[in-house]
Amino acid sequence: MISPTVTSHRRLVLGVLGLVAVLLVMSVLSVVLGARSVGLSTVVTALTDYQPADSDQQVVQARLPRLFAGLLVGAALGLAGAVMQGVTRNPLADPGLLGVNAGAAFAVVSAIAWFGITTAIGYVWFAFAGAAIVMVLVYAVGSLGRDGATPVKLALAGAAVSAMLTSVTTAVLLTDSATFNQHRFWTVGSLSGRRLDVVAQLAPFVAVGVVLALGAGRLLNTLSLGEDIARGLGQRVGTARALAAAAAILLCGAATAIAGPIWFVGLIVPHVARMVTGPDHRWILPYSMLLAPILLLVSDVAGRLVTRPGEVQVGIMLSFVGAPFLMVLLRRRTREL
């Protein structure tokens, strides 16, 4: 089947270690750098001998939940994207395509407008539920019909459901500007001010999703040969799809609940991973899981530095970091995408 040779296996392992190293460096940078310039000695003191009275140290401490959120959200989105691209065999599959962002947005807007929940902690669970329910709905609709959840049908179902939900969301936003005034900030996707307790509550979902996703590597390899061959090889295609979908739903739901709708990571990270690892999903998945947080942290740190004393939210920086990268990818790839 698809098994790398011994030498390239070693290369791939080294690659993983390299990525871990880069991730560690980015983690340190995200604590050291920010809108307020804080000296390295202050950073060290804040982490080892915390003095609450010193506002510089408070700033450093405040950066930690941001880092954890970034790691968690990045890993979740990277994995979810890789899983979805594997399951749908569509290199354009991005969690957003299955309606996760539209679902979360609709749920959050409903929470603010109809349930009177105006605190961010309050509507975190709405976001999670909205994302999860819509993905299930899209999957269900896309699976109807004789040939099940083909890539095209999934994408079309996702686009239709997203558009309908976005319509209703926009209608509410236009009539209720107070909700709009909150929603326009949430919808950008941000890691700033994430509460550690919220992140901790959502972490188990990410953990389960990660386990499911990483375990699905072999399944995805078989699926990528085509459904008929996969069935011929004894693979239960429907179960495989359902498991992968469950992983994607958990990961996307939790990530969107923590940081708001962050687009794009799930789309391009698997492509980059694939460029390095080749088509074996058992390597694409861990590479995606490491690359995505790196990309997210780079965007977050960059966002804190470019418009001091202000900040550009990570969701926006990501597009400006990721899109050119994707375009370069498009120019360089000789193989058919």
């Binding site: 209608a171 709009f180 939210q313």
Partner: protein, 338 residues
């Protein structure tokens, strides 16, 4: 004998397309008339007709001839342009996801318009010009990126999604930096609206559509030729890259003109092609696509204005609610993918 069968099949299909087109046109006309009669002031149809031909009193006459008639016309023109544009994109790229509102063309218009609205504080016609330029610019960049000895479907859609992501981010960023009243105005534009579209807008969009639609229908010949595959098309004397570029330019221009006039109305371009194809029994079906677009737009506007007693919504809010369920139903009942 085989030729006879093919000829008969082709004729049958042409008849079906013709019947479908006439039916759609009739439906569109009916909705058009309804939109002239309904509103905050309900005007019975005989009164509407009288007003159109000069008679009728000042107040209702003004409402019919200066408010509702141009609005309905803009709806038809923009809807047809969007429907046609979407159908061409989807056929060219052979991917139903390749609709101008998904692959960044309307995102380009939106970004340019939002910058004009929120950064430069412009309103009205300059915003339309910015939107038009933004759409063309985004399309040009996308094409340049995706071009590599020709343009492949996936590459174009991927480049489009990348552009859409970046441009949507620009829009979101601008919306967070503006004060809430200005941001809400921008949201209104971004939804796509036919409100207060007068004869001035008809004069802007009319000539563009009147020129582009016939050109596009003529170019539809190439579309059929390209469907059989590049090599076979070349054998038949079609200059494949030129044909593709020409069709793309026309499709982008149609989307740009419509978006400049009414804003990025979602979903019309996306859904018209598949619906038209289904009604016409397969194939490309350009005229039905244009008519479906016009029908969706006018119907959505009637609903948007009249469904809620205390308020009216921009048409862009309703188009997806009108078109979406039908598309989902199509998905659930088709046996073959796409």
């Amino acid at each position: 004998m085989a030729l006879g069968i093919v000829a008969r099949a082709r004729r049958r299909r042409e008849v079906r397309v013709g019947v479908v087109s006439v039916a759609l046109a009739a439906a569109c006309f009916a909705v058009f008339c309804v939109s002239l009669a309904l509103g905050d002031v309900d005007i019975p149809i005989p009164e509407v007709v009288r007003t159109l031909f000069g008679a009728g009193d000042g107040g209702t006459g003004y409402i019919v001839s200066q408010l509702r008639l141009p609005r309905a016309l803009v709806a038809v023109l923009a809807g047809a342009a969007l429907g046609l544009s979407g159908a061409i994109f989807q056929s060219l790229v052979r991917n139903p996801l390749a609709s101008p509102d998904i692959i960044g063309i309307t995102a380009g218009a939106s970004a340019a318009a939002v910058i004009a609205l929120l950064v430069f504080g412009l309103r009205g016609f300059p915003v339309s010009v910015a939107a038009f330029a933004g759409a063309l610019g985004a399309a040009a960049v996308m094409y340049a990126l995706a071009w590599r000895q020709g343009v492949s479907g996936y590459r174009l859609v991927l480049a489009g999604i990348a552009m859409a992501a970046m441009l949507t981010s620009v829009v979101s960023y601008c919306l967070t930096r503006a004060d809430v009243y200005a941001a809400r105005d921008a949201l209104g534009w971004l939804t796509g609206s036919l409100n207060a579209k007068s004869w001035a807008t008809v004069r802007t969009i009319g000539p563009g559509v009147a020129v582009l639609v016939p050109l596009t229908l003529l170019a539809g010949r190439w579309l059929a030729a390209l469907q059989v595959g590049d090599d076979l098309a070349r054998v038949h004397g079609v200059r494949v890259e030129r044909a593709r570029l020409g069709l793309l330019v026309l499709a982008v221009a149609l989307a740009a003109v419509a978006t400049a006039a009414v804003g990025p109305v979602a979903f019309v371009a996306f859904v018209s092609g598949p619906i038209a194809r289904r009604l016409a029994g397969g194939g490309i079906a350009l005229v039905p696509a244009a008519l479906v677009g016009a029908l969706v737009m006018t119907a959505a506007d009637v609903v948007a204005q009249n469904a809620f007693p205390s308020t009216q919504f921009p048409v862009g809010v309703v188009t997806a609610i009108v078109g979406g369920p039908y598309l989902l139903w199509l998905l659930m009942t088709t046996n073959r993918s796409g």
